[in-house]
Amino acid sequence: MPERTLTVFHLYADTLNLYGDFGNVQTLQRRCEWRGIGCRVVKVGIAQPVDFGECDILFVGGGQDRAQSLVADDLVTHGEMIRQRVEEGMVSLTICGGFQLLGRSFLTSDGVTLPGIGVFAADTVAGTGRLIGDVVIDTRDNPHEWLRHGGDPTLVGFENHSGHTRLDPGLEPLGRVVCGYGNEGDGAFEGAVYKHCVGTYLHGSLLPKNPWLADRLIATALCERYGPGDPLPPLEDSLEWRAHERAIEHCKAS
């Protein structure tokens, strides 16, 4: 029995499961296991009663439009609880559709406004075309201390979204776009960070080839649950970083 265990809530795993979201959850789980930290993944379905007090890392992935509208109403029922836990410091990673639904609202291409839960002070409007391609962002100017790791501050991934997400002034983006489209398709900024909650359009999957972000999520969640402790022991990550470097090279070449 490991001394310390983290609980990951994978929200709507059966409904919002596009673009290898499994890879992100799998990465959190493996990188805990490899360090002797327990990791319990709870798949939370629509209309399933859950206690977010148990949740150390909340993960919400992306879905097709139809799936997204199915979960939007259910997510609203958890809205107050999730907002409260985020205020308390719960670690979250939300990608694509998940990122949009944690904003205030999402105006779809059918002219329907889906409600968000307002963790992020941001609104999304469906654009006419899809923003598709490899993407690299640089997080060095992100002011959130908990994201600092002393190494390469870039994140690599693949984006495929029609939504344009506009952040209110005061909400920090996750990073500056090095290559790719980003939140509003203009190649300026990507994602958002509020407290310990990250929103982004990067899948690919995101965490396997950005091991530093996976480790910051794990370390921060451990600190929230068990209080400050030793830094995470490093892992043999050369393959992860080779894939990271390859993605940068690939993005810049295209």
């Binding site: 499961n17 495929n160 080839k209």
Partner: protein
């Protein structure tokens, strides 16, 4: 359940065998049309000579500029008409099976290849096969075309098929098309407004079955009906929802992927009744056998290739053949002698060892390929070739949806290759393969040589590859000439 929900149905409206041998009106000589055909053919030769894009799409573009509507005119001269085959997985195999069945029945058929299943590529293929006077396609009475889902509206509008076959829609190349729902709508648009066309649909795929309501002409459903078969399917990649009420669908029997006997527990919508049903299925690692029932047909079919998805491919081809009027002995004989299509369980010689090449271009195809290869516990030599070129889909995150975790991957010798070899290796590391045990080599030819290096001569290895990676591998090891020669033979209607 309302019958209208599934389209017109076929009772009393089946087209039957068309009058394929009816005399065709001879068109007057049209110099502009001839010029357009010559321009297209010249472009085809020139692009092939210089290896520009494999010479696939430019001829259509050039000919279209010289004489717009040329393809439509050519298509009208094809006495036996067209059959188009679409869907995410299995188009090439089904097209090959179907063409073979028609040939067995003595029909001269031409067909395209998977490298030219987009609208322009199909136009180019037809122009290359046209006789210069525009009287039709040289030596062909009819054509069977595999058509990319996104090109269906344009191709159907051009060639006005007698029969359209739709097999399955799964997540594949979302970066190109957006979502499965929008693909269904695109194909639906192609089926609407064509009362003279019979639509053949896989009833087991809820997305495909839903196309029935778009079809203006007769609809024929095929599917599996074998509740005692225990295929132990993978967990669903994502839940399926009722197109009528939005409730999650349930399955009485699920065969693989989201194919099965589905129904909606909320509103009662269910799989349409099968016009052609596959029953009594027996699967072995090397072959399959099944019975096909329907429309006065009772057939036992032996298929010398394994895997349930090939049973679906065979059922699609057989159903389309029956609708066209091919006798059942031709259908059964073609399937009995079937040889795998290009890259579909094809065997290559790599330095004296056999490498079986399996196309694995999306999670459903890759899961099926893995299940077919890892059917026993023996340690194996496996290459995973992941490219992210346009034809493969630029987004590679689907590899995380392949259920490697369900197998003990660490027991196998593994090479990761392709333009995204590092990502492939990383995927396998997180599936439990020690990173130091994975060879990462971007060049597929070098990678396959490395894979077989410690194997005895005559040994057997497997390569699971995305589309362009498969072509690269075949180019590196094919000993019967280049891929272009191979595709050329397919184009001329010979056997692969």
């Amino acid at each position: 359940m309302a019958a209208s929900e599934h389209g017109a149905g076929i009772a009393g409206s089946r087209t039957g065998r068309p009058d394929r041998l009816a005399p065709v009106r001879r068109p007057a000589f049209d110099p502009l049309r001839a010029a357009a055909i010559i321009a297209g053919k010249t472009t085809a030769s020139a692009t092939r000579l210089f290896r520009v894009g494999g010479g696939t799409s430019l001829p259509g573009l050039v000919a279209d500029r010289v004489h717009p509507g040329l393809v439509r005119e050519l298509a009208e001269r094809v006495a036996g008409g067209f059959i188009v085959v679409t869907g995410t997985n299995g188009k090439t195999t089904t097209t090959k099976m179907l063409s073979g069945m028609l040939r067995r029945d003595g029909t001269r058929v031409i067909s395209n290849d998977s490298g030219s299943n987009l609208h322009r590529g199909i136009s180019s293929s037809l122009i290359r096969s046209a006789d210069i006077l525009g009287r039709g396609l040289r030596g062909a009475e009819m054509a069977v075309l595999e058509v990319d889902e996104g090109s269906m509206p344009d191709v159907v509008s051009d060639v006005r098929p007698r029969i359209a076959v739709a097999m399955n829609f799964v997540r594949d190349q979302l970066d190109r098309y957006g979502e499965v729902d929008s693909i269904v709508a695109t194909v639906g648009e192609a089926l609407a407004g064509r009362p003279d066309m019979t639509t053949v649909l896989n009833a087991d795929d809820p997305y495909v079955a839903g196309l029935g309501r778009y079809a203006a002409g007769p609809v024929v459903y095929y599917g599996l009906d074998d509740p005692v078969l225990d295929p132990r399917p993978d967990p669903l990649l994502e839940a399926m929802y009722c197109r009528r009420c939005g409730h999650e669908l349930a399955y009485r029997t699920r065969y693989y992927g989201h194919n099965g006997d589905w129904h909606c527990p909320n509103c009662g919508l269910e799989r349409p009744p099968l016009d052609y049903a596959v029953t009594d299925i027996a699967l072995t690692p090397r072959s399959s056998a099944f019975s096909l029932l329907g429309q006065g047909v009772i057939l036992r079919i032996e298929l010398p290739v394994p895997a349930l998805y090939n049973v679906y491919n065979a059922a699609a081809a057989a159903t389309a053949s029956f609708v066209y009027g091919v006798p059942s002995r031709a259908v059964a004989a073609e399937l009995r002698d079937y040889r795998a299509a290009f890259g579909r369980m094809e065997t290559l010689d790599v330095d004296g060892r056999d490498v079986i090449l399996l196309l694995s271009k999306n999670p459903v195809a890759a899961r099926q390929a893995l299940a077919a290869v890892l059917i026993d516990e023996q340690p194996k030599h496996l290459a995973f070739a992941l490219n992210d070129n346009f034809a493969d889909g630029r987004d590679i995150s689907w590899i995380w949806d392949v259920d490697f975790e369900d197998y003990d991957m660490a027991r196998h010798t593994i090479v990761a290759t392709g333009t995204r070899a590092e990502d492939m290796a990383l995927r396998l590391k997180y599936a439990g393969v020690p990173a130091e045990g994975i060879v990462v080599e971007r060049d597929p030819g070098t990678a396959l040589r490395e894979l077989v290096r410690d194997m005895p001569p005559g040994g057997l290895a497997y390569a699971l590859a995305t589309y362009t990676a498969m072509i690269a591998i075949r180019n590196a090891f094919a000993h019967d000439g280049s891929t272009f020669a191979h595709l050329g033979r397919l184009m001329r209607g010979g056997n692969a």
